[in-house]
């Protein structure tokens, strides 16, 4: 006994094309549906292009724990420069401890911070050795917590300036510009 392929058997033997078509189920709507992928691919490409344009290769600038930076409107773009952070009473230069601010807070007097001065001076010397013949930019970026007292800010500012970094930048959070007050 032969094995037949399963399927419709009724009216199979009628040698008429329109009957065969009907018997095979040709009159029904196709059950397979194709999805149009073009809008989806368009959307994905636009998203990729947008993200690539806004992508920052330098990544996020690390902010030491415990520092809350204030926001400002009239800002400049970040640049690559030594970072001096003041968190609580500790001063860090590129993540390394460089003194503390307790003596300034206690005395309430503007004073030079020797450890910070020496570290910045050493950084300046290294830069000059690595870039002979080039003019030293003298830029340092300060990451200062929002509640630090002005006397500490001024002491760090002046110490950096005397260590050969007269262009001091304060790191802030960028804010969209508001309408000017009339």
């Amino acid at each position: 006994m032969t094995i037949h392929e399963p399927g419709r058997r009724l009216l199979h033997g009628v040698p008429l094309k329109f009957v065969q078509k009907k018997v095979a189920g040709g009159g029904h709507r196709a059950t397979n549906a194709s999805l149009n992928l073009t809008p989806m691919i368009d959307f994905l490409i636009v998203t990729v292009v947008f993200l690539l344009i806004t992508f920052s290769a330098s990544g996020e600038t690390a902010i030491p724990k415990g520092i809350k930076l204030p926001d400002a409107e009239n800002t400049l773009d970040m640049i690559d420069a030594p970072m001096v952070a003041i968190t609580g009473s500790i001063i860090l230069v590129d993540g390394n401890a460089a003194g503390n601010t307790r003596a300034i807070e206690d005395s309430k007097r503007l004073q030079r911070i020797d450890e910070l001065f020496n570290m910045l001076k050493a950084k300046r010397e290294v830069w000059k050795q690595l870039h002979p013949g080039k003019e030293f930019p003298g830029v340092v970026i300060l990451q200062i917590d929002q509640d630090v007292q002005a006397i500490v800010v001024k002491s760090v500012f002046q110490t950096a300036a005397f260590a050969g970094f007269p262009n001091v930048s304060f790191m802030v959070g960028g804010m969209p510009k508001t309408e000017k007050a009339q």
Binding site: S34, L37, I41, L44, I45, T47, V48, L51, L52, T54, F55, S56, G59, E60, T61, I63, K68, L69, P70, D71, A72, E73, N74, T75, L76, D77, M78, I79, K108, L110, I141, I144, D145, Q146, D147, V148, Q149, A150, I151, V153, K154, F157, Q158, A160, A161, F162, P166, N167, V168, S169, F170, M171, V172, G173, G174, M175, T178, K180, A181, Q182
Partner: protein, 189 residues
């Protein structure tokens, strides 16, 4: 799926229509989007510049004496007002009081303060008395900030931000850019 239909293909010949498999392409796009979203930086960091007035190294030949320039002194010691003083070599040229309203906004522990009235007044003062306005002028007007020793840093940034509101054109490498009109520094006392 994406494909190329060149028509024909009948008469027992091999089909000339070809199908491109779009699945690897879509996979690649998805992976790229995921990577870019994960590595995206959402908090935009920026900087505010200040210039310390440090004397340079001694020169062999002393330059000719130049007339000291006008400087804008911004006093923020009083709790109810700012004082804007134009001075030239110790001589007061003009004084303006600006009422001070400290609208400190605290959001999730982060403090923000703006002084829009001060910014507007400084802009007005610079427009009437500023010395360096031309795009070819490389010098900037100088603003000196006077503050109490105990003033929190967030207030200093609020005032420096206000001082930087007036903008002027500056020619940089053949292009004209808008830059802050003032250079800010701190008063020692």
């Amino acid at each position: 799926m994406g494909g190329v239909d060149v028509g024909g293909g009948g008469g027992g010949r091999r089909e000339t229509n070809s199908e491109i498999n779009m699945i690897p392409f879509i996979d690649l796009l998805m992976v790229t989007i995921s990577f870019l979203l994960i590595t995206a930086v959402w908090s935009q960091m920026a900087r505010i510049n200040a210039d310390a007035q440090v004397p340079g190294p001694p020169r062999e030949v002393e330059p000719d004496k130049v007339e000291p320039e006008k400087q804008l002194h911004v006093e923020m010691r009083a709790p109810d007002k700012f004082v804007l003083i134009w001075k030239q070599s110790g001589t007061v040229i003009s004084t303006v009081d600006v009422p001070r309203k400290d609208n400190l906004v605290v959001k999730e522990g982060k403090k923000t303060i703006r002084f829009p009235e001060l910014a507007a007044k400084i802009e007005q003062e610079w427009k009437s008395a500023g010395s360096h306005r031309d795009a070819s002028d490389k010098k900037f007007d100088q603003a000196i900030l006077h503050t109490d020793n105990e003033t929190p840093y967030v207030y200093l940034i609020g005032v420096i931000d206000a001082i930087y509101q007036p903008q002027r054109p500056l020619n940089v490498a053949g292009k004209t850019e808008q830059v802050p009109a003032f250079n800010v520094t701190f008063a020692v006392n």
